[in-house]
Amino acid sequence: MLDVIDLTKTYRSAADTVSVLRGVTFHVARGESVALTGESGSGKSTLLHLIAGLDEADGGEIRIEQTRVTGLPDAQRAALRRTRLGLIFQQFNLVPSLSVADNLAFQARLAEKHDAAWLAELTARLGLAAMAKRYPEQLSGGQQQRVAIGRALAVKPALLLADEPTGNLDEATADEVVHLLRDLVTRSGCGMLMVTHSARLAAMLDRQLRLSGGYLT
């Protein structure tokens, strides 16, 4: 479902050149949850951003359901993110001007893949039904992250990309969020790649990949 082949990425500045990824290759299958770990600055977020088409690789290839992401023009990468990817960030990144209900439905409506029944189920599973009319700033961190998860899954993505989704949460809430993610990934049948620093949370997923010195170990 996700194929990353010999991916390279180097950041160049006036002062120095940093090779963040030096030929990374891996595969994520449908319904599989994979944890991506590594030290700070090891390139985990960069790898996630490249897969999401937010940034461009220097070399190698990324395929999502046989669609070659690398080399796609900006508009098509945007369409890919809109329709087939779900993104979850540490900072939640909800739309502050929209209510919880509108935030949940936002991407699915944007992708014209709105499924009211699925959204209702997601809302119930995420425990957000009672707060549908609230606004992000009225929610706790854990609640906000649940809205972000709901928004990402509402589009029924092929692949869920989560960048430190529990970084701002306490341990108990983090465990709850990861359990929920796993369940929903299994239920929707998409693949998931989750960046995390926590070995404990990584151990809760199907498989672990570790990035170090630009290589997968």
Partner: protein, 821 residues
């Protein structure tokens, strides 16, 4: 001290990271100070000039004796009063023509001149001899000398015949004035033994005993006045300029307020950290105050330089306006007093403090720990909108109160100010309502976000939009007034310029010769003689004009109201038409009687008509020319109008030029006079147009700076949308559409507001200021044009931040999601 310096260094580091915000703050302060101080420089320049005129030999600053019924009286009164020990000094004054231009000739008696009048125009003992002894001297200001086109020492000729003494430049004299010895003045004005007034020096004698000394004479005591007629007349013009300056200043402060507000929001975490690290609230407030005052002082200085440049650029237009509207003379070069610089700096600092007041209050109450947000943005916004709405209603009530009970020019401007402020305060509420209606109709994700986000953006944009609303409304108001004036003025010119050719002979001899010459011409349909004299009614100078009884005048004279058979009554000589401003000033209506002080005794006339006399600062009375010459036999009949068929016009003009050697100021055809009048008219309103453009420009800057400062804080809201599948180009297009939409709605709202402003200017301010009222017209093309200009200004302001967003590197957007943000 070191602690304060350290806190200041921390605070200043914010500007290093946000140079655009610093630029916005300083641009706002510079624009506000420049426009305010520029306008004040013009006002100060005018006041200096009025002071010079007033302090000069017998201006309003000196007490005087005049004959209210006659322009001159016998100098025997001078001799009698001097003998009685009164320190009086005679002055003879009249207008004279030199090279086709009109000047004020003042004859003075320098020995008895009250010392307080000499402050602006001292004649030293050494110069006194040269001034009195033959051939004497004609004292003029440097500007007058340049205007005459003559060198010092040359002798100007009145009406191209009578020679004045040689010219000498006397600093501090008002422009447009020639000073000679009173004996010379009596000779050249052909008024031997006559004087216009007696100046009364400040004396230890009780002025209350003077009336007894002049009892039995026709003289009237006029106390020294702190404000001159010219100052009173021009008050409205300067108030107008000040209002424009203040508006620009406020618009500039909107920019400052939004920049300071944003900086405060962004520095909140830093301020909390500083408080947590042990910096006291007092220390923080003090350091922020020092920082703000320092920025305001630097920006104020740059603004003052900008103000000087603006004033220098506008001075010729302002001088033209004052000359055109009030006959006031302004020198061509700008001279500024130290008070102007100090006042400008003070305005900059006080303006910055006022704009930062709300942020200061919040900072003073800042808790060290960030509180949880108990209210959502919508609730906060609702409260804010309700507060603004209540204030808007209060200001509207103030405007209505001033309209109902006010009876002065100042109250007219108060109506305008309260109305504009009310509309500006109501704007966010109106926009929020419109956006809410839009949101109700939205079903898809993007439109839902579009409306919700637009509403959330309102507080950040509202000040800039208020500035745009005010600038546009004032533009529409002033534009409509000027255009109404222009259309009315052209119609009025068509009526007033009834003859096809206008001739002003240089002397009475030439006038006689011209009369004979015209009698012999068969290509002239009619000779329309005219006459003009200056009389005094209720102590004020009034123009008396003589109109011939001719069908052209009956058909075209711009009468506002007339009694039945008014023209026939005029011809009979017992009726007069009066100008609208005189009718308003003296509360005269049709059928009322008016006493004209004629040389052969009072001439009682009935008001048979009221006519428009736009732009004339003096009141005017029109009577039949033959009747006028009967009652004022001394009046020189030196104005002729000719009715000439178009096919003969060129031939008649050429023949007049050849035979009489008339220059362009003595002979003109109707088209030339009209063109010249329209040119003067356009020049008169050039300063208004310039200030309009400046104000709109500042509003454009306000919008641009608001959008630029907002654009940085908008990134965290836009980046997630990009991440979930909207291209940067689409996001930029949506942002453009959003800003243009609110700007368009604001501009649409500005149109009716502007028309209301125009009505206020025409029906309230104009009547109080000038004494006449214009018809109120709406010009749809002009409104469309302004709407277009507003949208172009909004587009220009929106384009830069939007292009920045469209071209933003993904790396910048990714940073929003990065943990190190």
């Amino acid at each position: 001290m070191r602690r304060a310096a350290w806190v200041l260094a921390v605070l200043l580091s914010h500007w290093r990271r946000h140079p655009m915000q610093l630029a916005t703050l300083t641009i706002g302060l510079i624009a506000a100070t420049a426009l305010w101080s520029g306008v004040q420089a013009l006002n100060q320049q005018a006041r200096i000039s009025y002071d010079r005129a007033a302090a000069m030999f017998g201006g309003a600053r000196t007490a005087m004796l005049i004959d209210p019924a006659h322009p001159t009286f016998s100098q025997a009164a001078f001799v009698d009063l001097r003998r009685a020990g009164w320190p009086v000094s005679p002055v003879l004054e009249d207008r004279v023509q030199i090279g086709g231009r009109s000047y004020r000739l003042l004859g003075i008696e320098p020995v008895s001149l009250p010392p307080e009048t000499a402050s602006a125009s001292a004649i030293s003992q050494r110069e006194l001899r040269a001034f009195i002894a033959l051939p004497g001297q004609t004292l003029v200001a440097a500007e007058t000398l340049a205007d005459l086109g003559l060198a010092p020492g040359t002798t100007p000729r009145l009406n191209e015949t009578v020679a004045l003494p040689p010219l000498r430049v006397q600093p501090q004299l008002a422009p447009g004035v020639l000073i000679v010895d009173i004996g010379v003045a009596q000779r050249v004005l052909e008024k031997p033994g006559q004087i216009s007034r007696l100046l009364v020096a400040q004396t230890t004698r009780d002025p209350g005993t003077l009336p007894a000394a002049i009892a039995g004479t026709s003289l009237q005591w006029i106390a020294a006045d702190r404000e001159t007629d010219l100052e009173r007349l021009t008050d409205s013009f300067h108030l107008n300029l000040t209002a424009f300056g203040l508006l620009s200043f406020l618009v500039g402060l909107f920019i400052v307020n939004s920049a300071i507000g944003l900086a405060f929001e962004q520095r909140l975490p830093t301020l909390r950290t500083l408080r947590a690290c042990g910096a006291s609230a007092r220390l923080l407030n003090g350091v922020v105050l020092i920082e703000l005052v320092s920025i305001a002082l630097i920006a104020g200085l740059v603004g003052l330089i900008g103000g000087y440049v603006i004033a220098a650029a506008l001075l010729p237009d302002v001088a033209a306006s004052l000359r055109g509207l009030y006959g006031a003379q302004l020198p061509g070069a700008l001279s500024l007093r130290p008070q102007w610089w100090l006042a400008g700096m003070a305005m900059s600092v006080l303006g910055a403090l006022a704009a930062a007041a709300a942020s200061f209050v919040r900072m003073a109450r800042l808790p060290v720990l960030a509180a949880a947000q108990p209210y959502v943005w919508q609730q906060t916004q609702r409260r804010w909108l309700l507060r603004q709405g209540a204030l808007a209603l209060a200001m509207l009530a103030v405007a209505m109160a001033f309209l109902a009970f006010g009876d002065s020019l100042l109250s007219g401007f108060a109506v305008l100010a309260a109305l504009l402020l009310s509309a500006a305060l109501a704007l966010p509420m109106l926009l929020d309502g419109i956006l809410r209606v839009g949101a109700h109709g939205a079903r898809k994700a993007l439109p839902i976000w579009f409306w919700a986000d637009s509403r959330q953006q309102l507080p950040g944009l509202s000040l800039a939009l208020m500035a745009l609303l005010l600038a546009l409304a004032v533009n529409v108001g002033v534009g409509t007034m000027v255009k109404s004036f222009s259309v009315t003025f052209e119609r009025w010119l068509d009526g007033r310029l009834a003859a096809d050719v206008y001739i002003t002979p240089a002397s009475e001899a030439q006038a006689d010769e011209l009369n004979h010459w015209l009698d012999r011409r068969s290509d002239i349909a009619a000779v329309l003689p005219g006459a003009r004299a200056e009389i005094r009614i209720a102590g004020a100078a009034v123009e008396l004009i003589g109109l011939p009884d001719h069908a052209t005048y009956r058909a075209r004279w711009p009468l506002l109201r007339i009694v039945p058979n008014g023209w026939t009554r005029l011809r009979d000589g017992d009726a007069a038409f009066i100008s609208e401003q005189l009718s308003r000033r003296l509360h005269l209506d049709l059928g009322d009687r008016l006493q004209l002080a004629a040389s052969g005794g009072d001439w009682s006339v009935e008001v048979a008509g009221i006519y428009a006399d736009y732009g004339n600062p003096k009141g005017q009375v029109a009577v039949n020319v033959d009747a006028m010459l009967r009652h004022f036999p001394d009046t020189a009949q030196r104005r002729f109008g000719l009715a000439v068929a178009p096919e003969h016009l060129a031939g008649v003009m050429a023949a007049l030029r050849d035979h009489f050697q008339f220059g362009p100021r003595q002979l003109a055809d109707q088209a030339t006079v009209k063109a010249e009048s329209k040119r003067i008219f356009s020049r008169t309103f050039a300063v208004t147009a310039a200030l309009n453009t400046f104000t709109l420009g500042v509003a454009g800057i306000a919008l641009l700076t608001s959008l630029l400062t907002l654009s940085a804080s908008r990134l965290p809201q836009l980046a997630p949308l990009w991440a979930i599948g909207l291209t940067r180009r689409s996001l930029a297009a949506i942002e453009l559409m959003k800003t243009m939409a609110v700007a368009f709605v604001t501009a649409l709202l500005a149109l009716p507001l502007g028309l209301l402003v125009a009505w206020c200017l025409i029906a309230v301010v104009n009547v109080k200021a000038f004494g006449w009222r214009l018809p109120f017209d709406i010009f749809p093309m002009q409104l469309l044009q302004l709407l277009g200009v507003a949208m172009v200004a909004a587009l220009a302001a929106t384009l830069m931040p939007v292009l920045k967003l469209a071209r933003m590197q993904p790396a910048t957007l990714i940073k929003i999601f990065a943990h190190e943000r």
